[in-house]
């Protein structure tokens, strides 16, 4: 086959990936819309996507939506913030002290296995129906992946790098700031990515079960008033909020660890 034909074929095949994603999304929404219209599905059960999107866009100009958004966002940020402090701190200690880690390991596994969402009612009892209980839940959920990844990162420091610092007679503090922290940072960021999603889940589940504020609570209220279209709109709104948080944390990679494979792959 001639090179020119080959070249043309190659070019034809080079459709950007995001076009494929868009096609899949359009097919999904189209199928949904078609199903709802064609089979006369009650909007109490499943509203049409066009109606949901219209309701969501309408809700964006409603001050009430933004009030609840701020509540949920603030709970998530605070919970994530505390999870970061405790998770990175404790993770670093566990990574540095293998004996302590071994000693605590059965308890870490036990707390991992417990479905932590089941503890939510307990937190509501302890910390009340206000924001505090949601912040605590968000922090507890986000804490584990951050701690475990930090510990893994500190343990994974390359031996050769340690020897460099040893031959340079570096202090323990210098080893921590110059080697262990930057070396563990990609792991910490992975823990943060998992953690930020979990802290939103924590805040929303907390709002489901108690209190009168936040997007989770708004969703429950729409459900109770049989306004399924509005419920879907809240879910979309929550997804958008989650996406923003996740994108911010993922974006940190490019600023904090531009040298790392994962940050380079993002540019790719």
């Amino acid at each position: 086959m001639s090179p020119v034909v080959n070249e043309l074929r190659k070019r034809r095949r080079e459709i950007p990936v995001w076009v494929g994603s868009l096609v899949i999304l359009a097919a999904f929404l189209g199928g949904w819309e078609f199903y709802v219209r064609e089979f006369n599905v009650s909007k109490l059960i499943l509203p049409a996507p066009s109606a949901v999107i219209a309701a969501w866009i309408a809700s964006l100009s409603n001050a009430n939506t933004w009030f609840h958004t701020w509540i949920t966002a603030w709970e998530t940020i605070l919970g994530f913030f505390f999870a970061m402090i405790v998770g990175v701190g404790l993770g670093a200690v566990l990574g540095k002290m293998p004996k302590v880690e071994k000693m605590l390991n059965p308890f870490i596994v036990a707390t991992q296995v417990v479905p932590k969402v089941a503890l939510v009612p307990l937190f509501v009892v302890w910390f009340g129906f206000g924001m505090t209980s949601k912040v605590v839940i968000a922090a507890v959920l986000a804490f584990f992946p951050i701690m475990l990844n930090t510990a893994l990162g500190v343990k994974s420091v390359e031996r050769g790098y340690r020897e460099v610092l040893s031959s340079l007679n570096a202090s323990r503090w210098q080893a921590m700031t110059q080697l262990e922290f930057p070396s563990a940072l990609p792991y910490i960021l992975t823990g943060m990515e998992m953690g930020v999603v979990l802290s939103i889940i924590g805040a929303v589940v907390g709002e489901y079960l108690g209190g009168s504020e936040g997007l989770g609570n708004l969703a429950v209220r729409e459900m109770n008033s049989y306004n399924t279209t509005a419920l879907f709109a809240v879910i979309i709104h929550l997804s958008a909020l989650g996406f923003v948080f996740y994108a911010v944390v993922v974006g940190l990679r490019r600023f904090l660890i531009p040298w790392h494979e994962s940050a380079r792959a993002m540019k790719g």
């Binding site: 460099v164 040893s166 031959s167 007679n169 070396s183 040298w259």
Partner: protein, 271 residues
């Protein structure tokens, strides 16, 4: 030659940079202690280029790591610049600051630019940033990677990375450079080039160098003295003076006298 009489080179006139006095190393294993290096006496003179040569398991790397302060001897004394390096419980800071170590892997930190990697030892010593940058720049010129100061290590070839790692070891101007198979991971062509470059750097900086290798041509090309070690247990087998004038060129490898020494070392290694 018996290990006890291995202190050749003394009497060449220079001061002693490194001295091993009855230094030995035993490793504890579940099957009992294993001798990595027999009781060894050996001195390196200031400005000398000494090469430790031998097969794997001969204790050459152990010997270098004990000198570098990375592994404690289980018997005897190691002196660097006249100071006892291994006092019980800690290492002598002044002796350590006298030495720069180059590892087989360049071990550059991937999150630091080449310049920051080279200046890392200065940062640990509290040197100001402008001064660090200045020093890194001139070291890049010395080792032949000028223009790559701002790059990350992953953007460099293996040979260039090892050049940067040599520059890092030189950054705080130690008197002694210790090198553990520094070119062992490089391809043959790059390796020959790096040998010539290392000779040039050594001649320009007047350092004392102790280099570990298992390559006979590399040892003969670089060394003032080749210290031949043999395994099980690791011990000094023979010390060979290499008489060729400096600077030596790549063509030296074809010289009959060079090949004569190389053959002699090969026979001793194979016997």
């Amino acid at each position: 030659m018996m290990p006890g009489t291995a202190a050749a080179g003394v009497g060449q006139g220079g001061a002693i940079a490194i001295a091993l006095r009855d230094a030995g190393k035993e490793f504890e294993t579940p099957e009992g202690p294993v001798r990595a290096l027999s009781t060894t006496n050996f001195t390196v003179l200031e400005g000398e280029f000494a090469v430790l040569l031998g097969p794997s398991g001969c204790g050459k790397t152990t010997m270098l790591r004990m000198i570098a302060g990375l592994e404690a001897p289980t018997s005897g004394v190691i002196e660097v610049g006249g100071r006892n390096l291994w006092t019980p419980g800690k290492r002598d800071n002044v002796a350590l600051a006298n030495m720069g170590m180059v590892f087989q892997d360049a071990n550059l930190f991937p999150w630091l630019s080449v310049e920051d990697n080279i200046a890392l030892p200065l940062k640990l010593r509290g040197v100001r940033k402008a001064e660090r940058r200045e020093r890194a720049r001139s070291l890049c010129r010395l080792v032949g990677i000028a223009g790559f100061e701002k790059r990350y290590p992953r953007e460099l070839s293996g040979g260039m990375r090892q050049r940067a790692s040599i520059a890092r070891a030189l950054s705080y101007d130690p008197k002694i450079l210790l090198m553990d198979e520094p070119f062992g991971a490089l391809d043959a062509i790059t390796r020959d080039l790096m040998n010539i470059e290392l000779q040039r750097i050594w001649m320009e900086t007047n350092k004392t160098i102790v280099l570990v290798t298992h390559s006979i041509p590399e040892a003969v090309f670089l060394a003032d003295r080749v210290v031949l070690l043999s395994p099980r247990p690791g011990r000094i087998e023979e010390i060979v003076d290499i008489p060729f004038a400096r600077p030596r060129s790549a063509a030296l490898n074809e010289d009959p006298a060079f090949q004569h020494i190389a053959n002699h070392l090969r026979e001793r290694l194979e016997h």
